[in-house]
Amino acid sequence: MANKYPRKGILGVREQAARMRCSFSAFRTRVKGAWLISVGRVQPSTLSAAYKIEIRYKVGERPEVRVLEPRLTCREGEDRIPHMYDQECLCLYFPPANEWSGERSLGHSILPWVSLWLYYYELWHATGEWLGGGHEPVPRKPLRN
């Protein structure tokens, strides 16, 4: 039986890339093997810096978002930037809460969160507080082989 409304499914990287190019033409989006790589600028507010960011995504994995420039810095007197994975990628959502899945378009879901993250990152520098809420990170236990 033909389904008039096909079930929403996981979007492939080519489909994600096509959507990204369509809605976010200022981003340079390409597909390299199983990976989608998209680079562009996000300026959360007019007072903010315009950050060059990179999204790397592979179906079945968590989208990785890195800030290429200006480089993220730690606040004076602190040893880490809040809400990051290994001080490298941005922690944009809480995976167990199903806030994101591969059925969603990266541009429309992940990118606005990047803008919001960068906004709160700047406010953290300005005020010393992370005003964007979220889960307090749990210190990671050292991995053992």
């Binding site: 922690c91 541009g107 406010l123 300005a126 979220g134």
Partner: protein, 385 residues
């Protein structure tokens, strides 16, 4: 000043407005001051009072009248100035006028316990939670000058007293004319304190004056004896003001003008409402105070320019702007930035936060033409490992 509009200036203005708002006397304090000086008026003019025949009239002067109050840096109390005008035709000595008001107040049990003699006024020290004291300045009309001119007893010691000419109302009218501020000033027996302006409605000039006074308090905190007086800063600011619509633009223009003034080597600044009154007496007498003003106003202008450059720069963020603003105005900057964030938080909480797709900027209010170029910021929980 006519210049290119930078989008960043709008957000910077918002932060500055919150800084100015946090410096001014609160509505509650304002209402308390209003009640307090209405009570004093009733007591002085009550039937049977020795002052009854002089028809005492109280009216606010200085920053309270101009809407440019600034919370002191170290103390928690505001200095609020109120003139007590007695309709006398002269004949009395300055000492007599001062004592007349003093004695009448002294006969009131409550006032007696909070009164304090000051060289130009009678200070009422209200309970600490009021967070202000009221300086009652006794005065009589200056018949020789007429108009809104008054004479104030100056009493450096109980034995000495002289008259000083002043024109606080004339000054206020001048200031308001400078900011093209049309307000009907009710002539009443007791003139109400001007309605406390909400920050948004408050004229750009008043806010700029508050910021400049705050800068003075911060930058001269270790050598307050060198600090330029509020009337000097207010007068220079109002003279330079050129109708800018925002406190950000007003500040830029005023600081440029102040630097030009500082470079002119002029030490004499007169009260625009009383041309015979030199308000920069301190600069004539104290070269160090004049030099300190000249040097630091240039520094202020340079730092302010840096604030503007940083705000408009695509490689510098809010944190960099905040740091510079903090150096100029201190602690209230942090609160102001948090206050500005509340718009974003509110939109996010109600599901009305969007991101403009080309710039990646967050948008808190949507207008019809932008609907097709934005993406909704979906609910999320920042996490960390």
């Amino acid at each position: 000043m006519i210049g290119t509009r930078f989008p960043a200036d709008e957000e910077l203005t918002l932060i500055l407005e919150f800084v100015a708002a946090s410096l001014q006397i609160t509505q509650t304090q304002h209402d308390r001051a209003d009640t307090a000086y209405n009570s004093v008026t009733s007591w002085l003019g009550a039937e049977g009072s020795p002052l009854e025949g002089y028809d005492p009239l109280l009216f606010p002067q200085g920053s309270l009248r101009l809407g440019t109050t600034v919370k002191p840096l170290k103390k928690t109390e505001f200095d609020l100035d109120v003139v007590c005008l007695l309709r006398m035709n002269g004949g009395a000595t300055p000492g007599e006028v001062y004592e007349l008001v003093w004695d009448r107040m002294w006969s009131h049990k409550t006032y007696r316990s909070i009164m304090e003699r000051m060289p130009r006024c009678i200070r009422l020290n209200y309970a600490e939670d009021s967070q202000f004291h009221l300086d009652i300045v006794p005065a009589i009309p200056d018949i020789s000058k007429g108009g809104t001119f008054i004479r104030i007893p100056e009493r450096p010691s109980p034995k000495l007293s002289t008259w000083r000419t002043s024109n606080p109302k004339g000054y206020a009218f001048w200031f308001e004319r400078q900011m093209v501020y049309l307000e009907k000033y009710a002539r009443a027996q007791v003139e109400p304190l001007p309605v406390q302006d909400s920050s948004a409605k408050k004229p750009a000039l008043s806010k700029a004056v508050q910021l400049i006074k705050r800068w003075r308090d911060v930058w001269f905190k270790d050598d307050m004896h060198l600090a330029p007086s509020s009337i000097i800063l207010t007068t220079l600011a109002a003279e330079q003001y050129n109708g800018e619509a925002t406190c950000c633009d007003a500040l830029t223009n005023i600081l440029e003008g102040m630097v030009v003034f500082a470079r002119s080597n002029r030490r004499d600044l007169y009260n625009p409402a009383n041309r015979a009154e030199l308000i920069s007496e301190k600069w004539v007498k104290d070269e160090a105070a004049y030099r300190a003003f000249c040097d630091r106003i240039v520094e202020f202008r340079d730092k302010w320019q840096k604030v503007l450059d940083t705000a408009r720069s695509p490689i510098r963020g809010i944190g960099d702007v905040a740091k510079l603003l903090y150096e100029l105005f201190g602690e209230p900057v942090v609160g102001a930035i948090k206050k500005a964030e509340e718009r974003v938080a509110k939109s996010r909480d109600s599901g009305n936060l969007y991101m403009e797709r080309t710039s990646g900027s967050l948008i808190t209010s949507l207008s019809a033409p932008t609907v097709s170029s934005v993406s909704k910021v979906r609910p999320n929980t920042f996490y960390g490992e």
